[in-house]
Symmetry: D2
Subunit: 359 residues, 4 copies
């Protein structure tokens, strides 16, 4: 089904499998006149690339992005922008074993049931490499948002049982786990080494803060801004939970605790809120305060510890997933969370522009 597109006005369509010829995206609906070049996109891809630390698969992929359309004389033209990365390890490996059974925690079985067969090489379309297209498109959205004074920042709030206690955003890119707390990073590092020694993997929580969104973005019914963020973030593999503002904690709060009082900002006389339990969105529409949400990311399903499963002949077998796999998805998912957030926001903002008629 035509499920590889995201967005209505600023619409992206990704393509590509882990071990196909190329992975990429077409961005349709980008306003004309935005300065754009490969050198502006590449840093975003480098952040999600593998091989950045011992917690990331060592294969160096050198994913160099190429812009093949939609940019002329250094600016977007308003026509589709196609960006692509060639895969470099297409036939490097024998996949006959992995083709024969269903990996626990992966979509192998579901693909066979849905499509009748599957591209079993490296996860095929379900590979994390599919997010290359999202991150490239998200980079453009981020550049547009920045020009409007909007910033999107995600980071690892927790890795396994280790939770950040301080939030120094300058730390995020200083450690390979993207934790804003250097102390927590240190503990998380030890925890992950232990996981790896056991042939196991860990999960975590990503938090994202969006600043600068004006009040009035989003829609009151199905296209609520938080509903679209929920879908965007849940479209990232391995995400199992999404919450905004106080999130699941609201279930045990009183109304008087959860409501945020509106107040007048003494600085500029504008309406704001004294607290932000709501996470910056009320009734599906941004209220002008920072938008804050969290996503729960499951442990990497590919582990070397022996596991029970079945093969395509419907025999129960024990398997151990070979190869080096990231023991944790969280740090590499951080730029993907940012990308999907940027894509959701720019679409909502452009849609809102359509409706601001002078009547």
């Amino acid at each position: 089904m035509a499920g590889s597109s995201f967005g209505t006005i600023f619409r992206i369509t990704t393509f590509g499998e882990s071990h196909g010829k190329a992975i990429g995206v077409t961005v349709d609906g980008c306003p004309a006149g935005l300065p754009l070049s490969e050198s502006l996109i590449q840093p975003y891809l480098d952040r999600r690339a593998p091989g950045q630390s011992k917690f990331s698969t060592p294969r160096k992929e050198g994913d160099a992005v190429e812009i093949l359309s939609g940019v002329f004389e250094g600016k977007t033209t308003g026509t589709p922008i196609m960006m692509m990365v060639h895969n470099q390890n297409q036939q490097s490996k024998d996949y006959s074993e992995i083709a024969s059974y269903y990996r626990p925690g992966h979509a192998d079985y579901c693909f066979d049931q849905k499509y009748g067969f599957r591209d079993y090489r490296g996860g095929g379309r379900s590979s994390g490499r599919e997010t290359i297209g999202r991150v490239a498109a998200g980079a453009i959205a981020d550049l547009l948002l920045k020009s409007m004074g909007i910033t999107v920042t995600a980071y690892a709030k927790s890795i396994g049982p280790i939770i950040c206690e301080t939030y120094d955003f300058s730390q995020i890119e200083q450690n390979p786990l993207r934790m804003p707390d250097a102390n927590a990073f240190s503990k998380a590092e030890d925890y992950l080494v232990e996981c790896m020694e056991k042939g196991d993997s860990a999960g975590g929580i990503i938090e994202c803060i969006i600043r600068g969104v004006p009040a009035g973005i989003g829609d009151p019914v199905f296209e609520k801004l938080d509903a679209n963020l929920a879908k965007a973030i849940f479209s990232i593999g391995a995400v199992k939970g999404f919450e905004i503002g106080d999130g699941f904690a609201v279930a045990n709060m009183l109304g008087s605790e959860n409501n945020d009082a509106f107040v007048i900002d003494p600085q500029n006389g504008s309406v704001t809120k004294s607290t932000n339990h709501a996470g910056g969105i009320l009734g599906g529409i941004s209220d002008g305060t920072p938008i804050i949400f969290r996503a729960a990311v499951k442990p990497t399903p590919s582990i070397s510890r022996p596991q029970q499963t079945v093969n395509r002949d419907h025999e129960e077998i024990t398997v151990s997933i070979k190869g080096r796999h990231d023991p944790i998805i969280v740090p590499r998912a951080v730029p993907v969370v940012e990308a999907m957030t940027c894509l959701t926001l720019i679409d909502a903002i452009l849609l809102q522009k359509a409706l601001t008629a002078d009547l």
Copy 2:
């Protein structure tokens, strides 16, 4: 913006405000030949109606649904089905006070920022009454799903701090809080009475179980089945969190704990899983086991306890929301969660049919 539609093949479009002339929905894309009448829809609406207990606003609205198109000789014709409920208390009240300020926890301020003004009567378009259209449309989806052997059951898993400990589904409709644990209901009742006496309100968690969905429904990228469920559930006002399977708990699990082993069902020789940490969906596609998710619902924002806010003249004021309001949204949201779940499922299932070509 055109944000009042949901679904691609089975598409619904709701209309109506709390105190406008009518509330309703148009269902476009329902297959022809389904037996349908008002008497099949009305029980679904009655479950979400107010006035069912002391925890629900006492106004009796008598929301009688009328089918105005798309049904002929007792069956759907394949053309749009419009269903409507007339509002009966349109001009019963003076809303001048509520028009003058922004209620904490509500979208009043956001509406003014987005649209320039708002229909302030009873929440206007953001009222819970908008869900009447969703529940009527969801009833049709539920009838279609039932004919395919699929059942959707939601209930209150927790009310404030009171969490169900036993799960007897026959209890759900036996108590006004829709808890499957009679003992927990009893405690929750006491808790809510206490909240009401303080002029306060409570939140809770809704859980939903879907049985009978075959493996292969959903899409591996943006249109993941869980991503669409997340959006659907987050489009319900007051929802602040969504999780599937083990949800946020995955953040602190090992891969070896979180992965579900595939096994052969001894009964019928088919592939199934020995556990269901995943919640019935892997890589965005149903795996044939029950789908389980939870939603966090915030406390009713309308409380009589005094609160700080600002008025339209940007003066800080103290307000006490007048009138009787439900101290808890959860039980009335249960049928809305079911409706949105049914709408998401039927759309995914019909889309999948389009792609099962014989090649």
Copy 3:
């Protein structure tokens, strides 16, 4: 299939059958703040109503439109506007004969093949009455366009063999055939009386002129403005041809004849064209000159002259369609052409606003 919606930003969804309870439309995506009331919509519906002359079915339906949502204190609120007309002759007639066979030139057979059965009363969903919803929605679009200085004018260019030779637009609403040439009307009247006496019907051509659309509306690939107009006009029953500018005549023109020279308007120094063979659109995008198109409308298929057909038992029979039917669809289709044109334009214009970012 969900085929009852039109438009992306300004999206309408119609519902209702000829002899169901009601016919109507939901308009989603109308900007907030437009003054609106039933009295502004009703004149548009009155123009397409039956019983206006001897060339129109004499049944007086008194289609009084009711706005049931989306308007507050006399202005649109930005939320869905539902407008409806109750049908008044639901069970007035015995339809058992018409239910038994397939009327030539109608979709009866196609409906049975598509849906398995059909609402045979008065054409069901395929009735011209479905356009009531379009005209009501088109009225809102027209009011928005007028506020932008854009006017849409359609008229009968020919009725059967009678072609207008002069174009006095003040004549259009002066005669029941909506011809801008009083002399041609007089001849067309005679021609139609003759048709009626033979129990036969006639076709014609509708022309539409749009003034005031700025250059730059429409998209260069699939969403060309003329492509969307073609779809909009072809979605009107009985339309069998659509052409823009010189239309089919271009097939026998030289490039040097067909190209329009760009020139400088001596009045205001802006770029314009010395001729308008293109019909105001180049490469799918408006060029700032008037947009001109034509639609061919087939003769009313319901005629009293005996015709050959088959019944549901697959027997060949001879039928004579009973009842009074319009001998010509053209004049009542004129306001529908205008409505679909307005809906296409407003959507393209609002989409364009979304993309005019200040970069």
Copy 4:
């Protein structure tokens, strides 16, 4: 605006400019299991390629298609299929002159008004080369349709004043103008040589016949099959008119002439029609008989004869378009008409499958 996608279930998104790095398409929603390879697609592209005769630009582009995703072990996987052609003449020329003025009959001026500037090299996004993506995608649709017994055949019905008088479909690919009448081709050849000698160009009419579509495809309201065909064909540059069945001729027919009698096919006892004035579609839904439509194609706007126009400084100038240009668009547009027809049909057929529930 996101206008580079076509279709709902079987959705294509094209990208690329005439002189950018590459031109291509992503096909999303193709059912899994269809045998596919470059060698199956290339013949379709070769039919639209330039340099096939003296009536086509002599530059040999050697447009070799590459499939970069969505195919595994020789079959489609159900995931997006990206196909691409590298442009080979990106920087071969000085475009400074053409950048300075607005070519008559082209969208140059409209692009500048819409986007603020334009990629002026070879027409940029408005170039006929954009159709490479459509033809590659249409090839897949054609393969799917063929597997269902549906064939789509287009040809030149007229070139300038020369109209085919006989229809021998085996002739179509025997002459470079794709005329099914060898005698007409001979006259058309002379006519075009004359046009070229005058530095002028010619138009024509393309006719398309679709056989094998079952009754019941299409929708009765906005998504009429003929309305979608009209949009599809009008989305091809240079098309100025579209008609189905008797088309514009219906305007001067009587109902008794235009209606087709339903009859029983003596061969197989099924319902069919004795004539086909309707062109195979009634009320927007296929009736099981051949679908026949025509499109009017304007003369190539690029001509060497001197023309009046204005430059970007708004000065009136005289220009002569340099370079070799096809004197006629028709023969190369024939495969594009087929492609857009196939894309429209496959989408409608897959949508119909979604709604054929067993109730």
